[in-house]
Amino acid sequence: MSATDTPVPRLPELEVDRRAWRHLADAAVGVELDTGDMILNLGPQHPATHGTLRLVVRLDGERVLAADPVIGYMHRGYEKLTEVRSYPQITTLINRIDWLSSFANEVPFIHGAEKLMSIEAPPRAQYIRTILTELSRIATFVLFLGEMGLQVGALTPAFWGFRDREHVLNLIEAATGGRFHPNFNRIGGILDDLPWGWINETRNVMKIVIDSCDVFEDILAGNEIFEARTRSIGIIPGALGAAYGVSGSNLRASGVDWDLRRDGKPYLAYPEIDFKVWTHPDGDSWSRYWVRLQETRESALMVLQLLDQLPSGPIMAKVPRIIKVPEGEIWVETENPLGQMGYYIVSKGATGPFRVKIRSASFSNVSILPWLLRGVYVPDVITILASLYFILGDIDR
């Protein structure tokens, strides 16, 4: 017997007491009809997801019932790749984790390797590393300050963000030879000294950056529409954020006064300079914007301070010609632009590490998204994504 011959079972007739229904309709005029949910796929090709984050959002009208981040579209297997590379080669890879602030990625790894080898970079190298780290922080944040405007609909600030980032990238290029991926750190120091005239130029650019922070404060942070769109949107309670592993400016915007530059194990030249750690009690999208704005300005001031204190001397310590890291394990964490970044390096005495675990900030930062996105509207999803400020390379590695 073929399938078509099978009699289709009839659904039993529903017994409806029509009088009761009429009564119901009279009583409940204000009752909304039950409408089905709509599943909307935000990404992986969506401009608000900075690359290839995919959010599966279940919507009731414009309200989000549930959001599920799907990650892994950009997984490049860096942890595995580090096992088949030598230490100097690895900086090339880890440059590309958080591609907006690549120099800052190199620092914790090199620092860990140096500690395992009991080498310390000379003070001048430490200072230059600190300056370049802060410059990459400025390059990242200045882009965020404009980009956030773009995500809530203001076109112009985005271009101003790129313009100011350009100044900073020019500095990084002049010092390291690489705009995006400097690959400048060496175990025991840095590749090269600063070029002639760089210090004066940096001072000028820092003034530009501080000025443009004022502009962003005027045009976005103080704009009524921007405030309406970001105030009390996406509130992360401090304790909950810390429990999810949110770190960096996102956590400081929730009132948690925690900055590894000040509170962590001392690294680079941070113990020798004065800086303020900015926090904001609210924990909403606006305060995340505000905290990054203040941190950009603070970083510019830090660079000026570092330039004033820049010591003279060598830029490389004495290191063996073939780098072999003695057996041991070490955990190094630093305050990167996007948050806490850490490397757990296991060495078995070879030219390359035995195992490296990379703790990147964005991965933990987006882990709070399902909690954060419940019950908000679709436009708020974009605001929250923009204010958390993640880099896809930093999520997927």
Binding site: M38, L40, H46, P47, A48, E62, G149, L150, Q151, V152, G153, A154, L155, T156, F159, W160, R163, I219, L220, N223, I225, F226, A228, R229, Y377, V378, P379, D380, V381, I382, A386
Partner: protein
């Protein structure tokens, strides 16, 4: 009107001229606004040059883009409602065309001098919402659907403040005829001094502000561009459109901006008239230029806001319309009425 520039002509000739003018005027207006504001003003605000290669200073860039659009493949989504999908852009452009019918550019330079001109212009301008809904629904795309529904809610909410803003002008001029409103402004006087006539922006400044805000929402421009929100809905209801049909949306968008700027210039800035110049023949030539200069000022304000401000959220937009703009509009009508009776 069976004569063009005071020369009697048969209805066929008049019709032909009208068709050519209308078909040429709207794309030309869209091109002028698109080039001046979208390409150049925005670029200079954003510390960049904008297109510089096609023609001197890039003036022909939009022409080149238009030709490019004509060459593109006409893609229709497989799941789309094909007929509705095909008609939707035409409906939107049609509503733009219909507004131009009543806007006067000189003493006799008007396609149809309707007695209910203002009413007609506002009525046909809201026809575009049908096209937007058709486009969003027929695209079979969730982003397009969200965009279309947002557009429908928004355009309906902002019809009302737009209308209320104009009521003050109509009350003051005592007519809904756009020529009559232009005449009332040109021949009016401010406390007995008739040097610049009485452009209604001086007395109806609240109405002018309301009109600008509401027309910004009607045009779905930032800060009210949720229907097309690039960063959320990518392009909203036009996300599935390509090639020539997308060009229609573009012409519709900037053509409507052109029409609304012309309407605002007519209602509040005195239209084509120069107070004191009564030579009709001269004004037939100068009138369009005067109107164009005034509408460019209005358009500058619109686009300045568009390129500066962030975008509101849908519920905030509704709250602004119902809780702020409409009460202000009603109060404005009340005050206008009191003054009209008292003076």
């Amino acid at each position: 009107m069976s004569h063009v520039l005071a020369v009697d002509a048969g209805w066929g000739v008049t019709l032909g001229i009208k068709t050519v003018v209308v078909l040429g005027l709207i794309p030309a207006g869209a091109l002028i606004l698109g080039y001046t504001f979208l390409l150049k003003m925005m670029s200079h605000m954003q510390s960049r040059l904008g297109p510089m290669e096609a023609g001197p200073h890039g003036v022909l860039q939009l022409v080149a883009d238009g030709v490019k659009f004509l060459q593109k493949e006409d893609i229709m989504p497989a799941e789309s409602d094909r007929h509705v999908f095909a008609i939707a852009p035409a409906v939107i452009v049609m509503s733009t065309f219909l507004i131009f019918i009543v806007i006067p550019a000189g003493p006799k330079l008007v396609v149809k001098n309707l007695d209910v001109g203002v009413f007609y212009a506002l009525a046909v301008s809201s026809l575009s919402v049908i096209g937007v809904l058709m486009a969003g629904w027929s695209s079979a795309n969730k982003f397009a659907l969200l965009g279309a529904l947002r557009a429908a809610a928004q355009l309906i909410a902002y019809e009302l403040p737009l209308l209320l803003a104009v009521v003050g002008v109509v009350a003051q001029a005592g007519t809904m005829n756009l020529q009559g409103i232009v005449g009332a402004q040109a021949n009016g006087s401010i406390f007995g001094w008739s040097g610049i006539g009485n452009p209604f922006i001086l007395t109806q400044f609240v109405g002018f502000g309301l009109f600008l805000v509401a027309s910004q929402a009607e045009l779905t421009q930032t800060p009210f561009d949720m229907p097309v929100a690039e960063s959320e809905l990518v392009a909203g209801y036009m996300v599935e459109y390509t090639g020539f049909r997308f060009l229609f949306f573009f012409i519709g968008e900037f053509g409507t901006a052109f029409a609304f700027a012309a309407l605002a210039a007519t209602l509040f800035l005195g239209g084509w008239a120069i107070p004191g110049v009564t030579n009709t023949g001269l004004m037939e030539v100068l009138g369009p230029l005067v109107l164009f200069a005034k509408l460019m000022i209005v358009a500058f304000l619109m686009f300045w806001v568009r390129f500066t401000y962030p975008r509101l959220r849908e519920d905030q937009l509704q709250a602004l319309a119902w809780k702020v703009l409409i009460p202000i509009g009603l109060a404005n009508i009340l005050v206008t009425g009191i003054f009209k009776v008292a003076f």
